[in-house]
């Protein structure tokens, strides 16, 4: 995690690991690709749509009549990518193109490996370059190439016979997440071993962690309020299920804790007690990690442990006075 005076940010990759069912129409097209063949579908007006769609774009009628289409055709329009992005299918300059395959009446989108923009022109003929191994995906076409290009046909046949009915289509997007202004101020104090909430100027409620606004009043929280290490258990649960990637061994206690002086609770672990002794209203305090391990994270606090103070009556928890006072 990098930090300047105010901006805390960290790169992360979000994975959408979807599997998708194809339905019969898309499935048949992808099954044909697996066999290095192209099929289009006849639209309501008899024209061949490529790639096939389930319903006619004009009449909305369900379509079902497949038509064999050649794996070569004509570029109808194109754009040249001189600096490919990491996600793009080619790491050297290439063209995106709408290509009308012989036997089809609408063009399909794919990419063309032409080496140089000067080799591209509208009206040029191109042919599919099939992947060495096919899987039943649009990427079984490893781009198109100018028709005169000689291709090695050292293909592996995909022996699968079952039609394609579903595909894995994971997508990973990388972001640079930036903590909000209020969160950044909170985290900067947390790194120093302090719990600092923010007070609503309207209702005077104190929020920790602060998110920049009072959700009840819709106004910015600006006043900072340093809070103590002591809290009250508002509610809790005992977790018996192992959570993937969580180093804590079950059973353990997760509690909603209201810090003294705050008006809303946050989640943290409870330890140094028997799980069966945990109760609503119990008084607890933060156990911090050694100072040299402090970072911009709530993990600076290892857990909360019980302290020898009388329980807070149930009816008073979470109903603290305005401003936590």
């Amino acid at each position: 995690m990098s930090s300047s005076a105010e901006i805390l940010s960290q790169a992360f990759t979000l994975g959408y690991t979807y599997t998708r069912s194809t339905g019969p129409i898309v499935g048949q097209f992808l099954t044909a690709l697996r066999d290095r063949k192209m099929v289009g579908i006849k639209g309501s007006d008899g024209k061949v749509l490529m790639p096939p769609v389930e319903f006619d774009p004009v009449s909305a009628q369900a379509l079902s009549e497949f038509v064999d289409v050649a794996d070569c055709g004509v570029v109808q329009t194109w754009s040249w990518v001189s600096e490919p992005r990491k996600a793009h299918p080619s790491d050297k300059p290439f063209a995106w193109a709408l290509i009308k395959l012989d036997g089809a009446d609408t063009p399909m989108l794919h990419w063309v490996d032409a080496g140089d923009a000067a080799q591209m022109s509208t009206g040029m003929r191109v042919k599919a370059r099939w992947a060495e191994k096919t899987q039943g995906l649009i990427s079984d076409i490893n781009g198109f190439v100018p028709e005169a290009t000689t291709l090695s046909e050292d293909y592996q046949t995909n022996e699968a016979e079952e039609p394609i009915t579903g595909i894995d289509s994971p997508s990973y997007l990388t972001y640079n997440f930036t903590a909000g202004g209020a969160t950044a101020r909170y985290l900067a104090e947390l790194k120093k071993g302090k719990l600092v909430g923010q007070r609503c100027p309207s209702c005077e409620n104190v929020y920790i962690p602060p998110r920049g606004s009072c959700a009840a009043c819709g106004v910015a929280t600006t006043d900072e309020v340093e809070l103590t290490n002591k809290a009250t258990v508002e509610s809790f649960t005992i977790v018996y299920i192992p959570i993937p990637n969580n180093p804590i061994k079950p059973p353990y206690v997760i509690a909603n804790l209201v810090l003294d002086g705050a008006n809303i609770s946050f989640l943290h672990l409870l330890s140094e007690c028997k799980n069966e002794d945990v109760r609503i209203g119990m008084r607890v305090e933060a156990v911090w990690k050694p100072e040299e391990e402090w970072g911009y994270a709530m993990e600076n606090i290892q857990y909360f442990k019980p302290i020898d103070e009388p329980d807070v009556p149930v009816e008073e928890i979470g109903k603290l006075k305005k401003g936590g006072r």
């Binding site: 997007l173 903590a179 819709g218």
Partner: protein
């Protein structure tokens, strides 16, 4: 259809990177501004709230729910959201008022595109079997569309550059614009190609920001006693996702929406068009059949700053505020979504 009044509009500056501000911190200032313009205190003082945003932009799941923290939704309010540009949130709110279920509504849109690689993020809105797996991006589609038009003689590169030069010049008077200044057509044409045939300036910039609007019945606007413009017509249409079946040289869905919204029923003094790429402004002017007398994109349009999910609503707000300020009597605002102007919303507004 009853007239619906626009009484308040506010937008943030378009900035390349809003830095530490989260969605709540982006939204709150524009909300406070429209409350002030209307003379109300909070979202509690309107009957309905609707927002437009897309969590994929910043990569934070349920960012649109977190955004509700900006509203003061205690006690609970009637609230809705569209995973689209907030122009469509306006449409939902307009319907609520037409149905008699609300007399007033707050609409806001926000977008923080800076954390991700926007063109690549947007590739994932496309067909998940045929297009998204190839990671074909928005710029590529716009470039292919521009080439079709150039090669068919429907536009020239000089006309595209003229659109950009006028945008930068108009934006000089827009304090919220990201790109502005005097630049000549010749200077623009001397720039290298970026994703051919597009040059970098033919593409809108990437911006962070937010905007907000308050609409209501005419009766309510009179009760509030604030100046307002009225929505006389609003309609939106979408074209097929099968890109090969579309005529990319024109915008049929814009034409249809314009007809339904009644654009041709009077002269158009001002038009704000959501054209993320220079050649698309030409397509839209033709689809809307605008005459040379119409002042197009007096704000500079989205080539001067494009907050995804807010820019469409901002087009409508720009026209409304200019009508309220007496810059014209009748205006048209346009919003778009999807590759090559796939979906289009057209609003006709009149000064009071």
């Amino acid at each position: 259809m009853r007239d619906v009044a626009i009484v308040a509009f506010a937008q943030s500056d378009c900035v390349r990177d809003a830095g530490a501000r989260n969605e709540v911190e982006l939204i709150m200032p524009v909300l406070q501004e429209v409350y002030k313009q209307t003379g109300i205190n909070s979202a509690q003082d309107v009957d309905f709230t609707c927002s437009g945003s897309c969590d994929y932009q910043q990569g934070a799941a349920f960012a649109f729910v977190a955004g509700v923290d900006a509203l003061g939704a205690v006690p609970p309010i009637k609230e809705s959201h569209v995973e689209m540009d907030a122009a469509w949130a306006l449409y939902e709110s307009w319907l609520k008022i037409q149905m008699g279920q609300a007399e007033s509504a707050l609409i806001y849109g926000f977008g923080k595109s800076s954390p991700g690689e926007l063109p690549i993020v947007l590739s994932q809105q496309l067909d998940p079997y045929y297009l998204a797996p190839l990671w074909v991006d928005t710029i590529a589609f716009a470039a292919m569309q521009a080439r079709v038009m150039l090669e068919q003689g429907l536009i020239t590169e000089a006309e595209m550059a003229e659109v950009v030069a006028r945008s930068r010049q108009n934006a000089s008077n827009n304090p919220h614009a990201q790109l502005k200044g005097d630049v000549s057509v010749d200077e623009l044409l001397a720039e290298p190609e970026y994703e051919s045939p597009l040059r970098r300036h033919d593409c809108c910039p990437i911006s962070d920001g937010a905007c907000a609007m308050i609409i209501c019945t005419v009766e309510k606007a009179k009760e509030w006693g604030k100046p307002y413009a009225v929505i006389k017509g609003i309609d939106h249409r979408i074209e097929t996702h099968h890109i090969g079946s579309r005529d990319l040289t024109q915008s049929i869905s814009t034409k249809q929406a314009a007809e339904a919204a009644g654009v041709a029923q009077g002269p158009v003094d001002i038009a704000e068009l959501y054209a993320p790429f220079s050649h698309q402004e030409i397509i839209l002017r033709r689809a809307l059949n605008l005459s040379d007398d119409t002042k197009v994109n007096p704000s500079g349009g989205v080539l001067a700053g494009n907050v995804m999910m807010a820019s469409g609503l901002s087009r409508i707000g720009e026209v409304a505020m200019r009508l309220i300020n007496g810059e014209g009597k009748r205006g048209v605002a346009h919003a778009t979504s999807g590759p090559c102007l796939q979906q289009n919303l057209v609003t006709v507004l009149e000064a009071q």
